[in-house]
């Protein structure tokens, strides 16, 4: 279900790192030897076997990251991102797998379009890349796609991300039909008649600045609806980019009731509030919008306690000239692949709001579990999907050019701590 260009398997020994893989029960200073892209030996001392030795003293070696929510803009807007540039950005961010959303031009709603993406990924993707296919044809919310054939062609899941499935009746049919594919529906929950025309969270900042509001309840009523439908149809859903406290509460209740639902949160929703919009910077404009502090706290609590199992960047590249306009004229979306770990390490782990192990789990094993991907892990016999992190290093976002074709980062000019020194993905060194 994931595709990557052919790369030589790494022969490498990593020495002196603190190896951290909570799911495997490892937290110790260990040496790791990789033979031909496969973890061959883990121990207090391993033979170098004439491999290149990486001195990793003071660094953390962990399972590399999985991003279940990326916009690669291909096909259609290759000026903003390509499979090559997007996966290079992901490699630099420490990711060993990403999933691309189907809201491209044309929409990924047929086996033919999906097939051409798979072809391109096989020749261009720096790291293993998977694709979601649309729930409805053209994402128009009217007719279901041929999910059976799409699943056989490699679609990891189904999503109309970018637009909600407005009709409850159609959502029910989608849940019914998707059950034959054993793939989850990844849902962009938004009630369009409530969010209509809104640019930022409906709260004090919108009231003061005069922006049309996109209220929390526009998300939470859609989350409640889809959870109820998933419960009724015994379907599996994944709620994309959760932003509102009420949505998180609904998800927690549904999970307690045994509904097969999961959720994700983005770094920007976990770090910023709508207060950031006072800058009028189009690089803090995204859908769903940044919300109030109580929403941010609810998201953070849910990431901590596992109600939210995955962190996803919702990496959404936009051309510079399209963002260099007044806030209301700018498109929704910000980039995030190259800053995800550092932003969360700096703003959540360092201040003591989130344990490092939890962050690493939610960025790797969590999303892999939801989408049925092999979990990146530190274990002998496993393919090397590893990231080497330098937690102390400080850097300034934007000082070095982005690997992404777009620079619409919400962190532009920001000073962050925590850097990716080395990424192994699919057994190959993809970033160093």
């Amino acid at each position: 279900m994931l595709w990557q260009k052919e790369l030589p398997g790494a022969d490498l020994v990593i020495r002196g790192a603190r190896v951290l893989d909570r799911t495997e029960g490892i937290d110790a200073t260990l040496e790791v030897r990789i033979d031909g892209g496969v973890i061959a030996q883990i121990g207090a001392q391993v033979d170098a076997n004439e491999h290149r030795v990486v001195d990793a003293k003071g660094l953390v070696l962990a399972p590399a990251f999985v991003d279940p929510h990326v916009h690669l803009r291909t096909p259609g807007r290759e000026d903003e991102e390509t499979i090559a540039s997007g996966t290079a950005a992901a490699a630099a961010g420490g990711f060993c797998a990403i999933l691309a959303m189907p809201n491209t031009d044309p929409v990924v709603d047929s086996a033919a379009t999906l097939g051409s993406l798979v072809e391109t990924a096989r020749s261009e993707a720096a790291i293993p890349t998977g694709f979601l296919a649309a729930i409805t044809r053209g994402q128009r919310g009217e007719e279901l796609t041929e999910m059976g054939e799409l699943a056989e062609s490699g679609a990891v899941a189904f999503s109309d991300d970018g637009v909600p499935v407005a009709s409850a009746g159609l959502m029910r049919r989608a849940l019914q039909y998707a059950s034959i594919t054993d793939r989850p529906l990844a849902l962009h929950c938004e009630e369009p008649t409530l969010s209509r025309g809104g640019h930022i969270h409906e709260g004090r900042v919108a009231a003061e600045l005069g922006f049309a509001g996109y209220p929390s309840v526009a998300e939470s009523v859609a989350v409640e609806r889809d959870l109820a439908l998933a419960g009724y149809e015994r379907g599996r859903i994944h709620v994309l980019h959760l932003s509102a406290a009420e949505s998180v509460e609904a998800l927690a209740r549904a999970r307690d009731a045994g509904i097969a639902a999961s959720g994700e949160a983005t770094p920007h929703h976990l770090v910023l509030t709508d207060d950031a919009v006072r800058s009028l910077d189009p690089n803090v404009k995204m859908n769903p919008p940044l919300r109030a502090e109580r929403d941010r706290v609810a998201l953070l609590d849910a990431v901590r306690d596992g109600t939210i199992e995955a962190i996803a960047t919702d990496h959404a590249p936009h051309a510079a000239h399209e963002k260099d306009v007044p806030f209301e004229a700018a498109p929704f979306g910000v980039t995030g692949l190259e800053t995800a770990f550092a932003s969360l390490y700096s703003h959540l782990v360092k201040p003591g709001l989130l344990p490092l192990e939890t962050l690493l789990e939610r960025m790797s094993a969590g999303p892999a579990r939801i989408f049925g991907l092999d979990r990146p892990r530190v274990a002998t016999g496993a393919r090397a999907n590893l990231v080497l992190l330098e937690l102390d290093r400080e850097w300034t976002v934007g000082e070095q050019p982005f690997r992404s074709r777009s620079g619409n980062s919400w962190l532009l000019g920001s000073r962050l701590q925590g850097a990716v020194r080395l990424t192994l993905a699919g057994g190959a060194v993809v970033h160093e």
Partner: protein, 326 residues
């Protein structure tokens, strides 16, 4: 709160540029200085020759992306009264019609080295973008539903001239607060000078989380010294919007009629008025209406603003006053 550090990436700053983008950027001292300057100019307009040489050789560009009578004409006249050269660009009939972006238009006009760009634009933050893209001093003449700072200043000027004070006054702002940049600017300006504000209007047209007294009950205007009536925009009546059921019902419940006012209660309106909708013609034309005073204040306040962004500071005002005496 998390602050994103951006300052360390900016190139070394030149001399600070003075803009008027938002009332939120003003201090009480700034307001006093501007109102004082406006007063000086008001006196100069009583003379037979009304033109002052103050801004001779300066270029003021008026860039209007929205239709306007009062604001555009008073900015143009203000610049001319101060002997500045003026250049007016309207979105209709310019390259904006051909799809030129705001930034490119700003860069184009910036190439003429204007001293001031006055901009009105339907989108929030357009003046900030022009300020970042050019070296001109930028004056916000209205950006979307965000700000209209010179309107707030001219209203403060009018209130002080007509009521003799600002601090301690109580103003009721009535109507479509949600979509009103005038209301937002006024609330901040009123807070700055110690005026109490009450917002009155239909439920869907009052923002939920504004830090102000709000009520849907029109009776609340009784306690106010001044009733400030907002324009009820026809586009709010578009099918499917349902902010209020009809103009007729709006007018019946929130329209300002002589019966709803106390004797001596002053009435203001930023214009343009919908007579018979938000304001009864008898109120608009009554002796207690300050509406034409507001228009007159607009000229001198905008002269003061142009003068202030270019010269700045009370010293300049004193020098000007001295020149007048001599």
């Amino acid at each position: 709160m998390i602050r994103l550090v951006t300052d360390d990436l900016r190139p070394p700053a030149g001399p600070p540029k003075r803009h008027l983008l938002s009332v939120a950027d003003l201090t009480r001292d700034d307001v006093e200085r501007l109102l004082g300057t406006a007063r000086t100019f008001a006196a100069s307009l009583d003379r037979q020759v009304k033109k002052l040489p103050t801004l001779q050789g300066h270029l003021v560009v008026n860039l209007f992306y929205e239709s306007s009578t009062r604001t555009s004409s008073s900015f143009e006249l203000a610049a001319k009264r101060l002997s500045a050269d003026t250049l007016s660009v309207k979105s209709v009939g310019s390259s904006v019609d051909k799809g030129e972006s705001l930034k490119d238009t700003a860069l184009t006009l910036g190439a003429y080295d204007p001293d001031v760009i006055v901009i009105r634009h339907p989108q929030i933050g357009a003046p900030q973008l022009v300020a970042a893209a050019t070296d001109a001093h930028v004056v916000n003449a209205g950006d979307g539903k965000h700000q209209h700072p010179t309107q707030a200043l001219l209203d403060l000027f009018t209130l002080r001239e007509e009521l003799g004070k600002l601090e301690g006054l109580h103003v009721a702002i009535v109507g479509d607060v949600l979509h009103s940049r005038v209301a937002r600017s006024l609330m901040q300006a009123f807070a700055l000078v110690g005026i109490r504000t009450t917002l009155v209007g239909p439920p869907a047209l009052l923002p939920r989380e504004l830090p102000a007294e709000t009520t849907t009950d029109i009776e609340a205007i009784r306690d106010a010294d001044v009733v400030y009536v907002l324009r009820m925009q026809n586009e709010r009546m578009a099918p499917g919007e349902n902010f209020v059921p009809s103009l007729r019902e709006y007018s019946a419940r929130w329209g300002i009629t002589p019966e709803r006012l106390r004797t001596g209660q002053k009435v203001m309106h930023p214009g343009p008025m919908n007579r018979g909708v938000e304001i009864d013609p008898r109120v608009a034309d009554s002796p207690d209406s300050l509406i034409t005073n507001e228009v007159r204040s607009g000229l001198v306040v905008r002269m003061a603003v142009l003068y202030d962004v270019l010269t700045g500071g009370p010293v300049g005002v004193q020098a000007l006053a001295a020149a007048e005496v001599a």
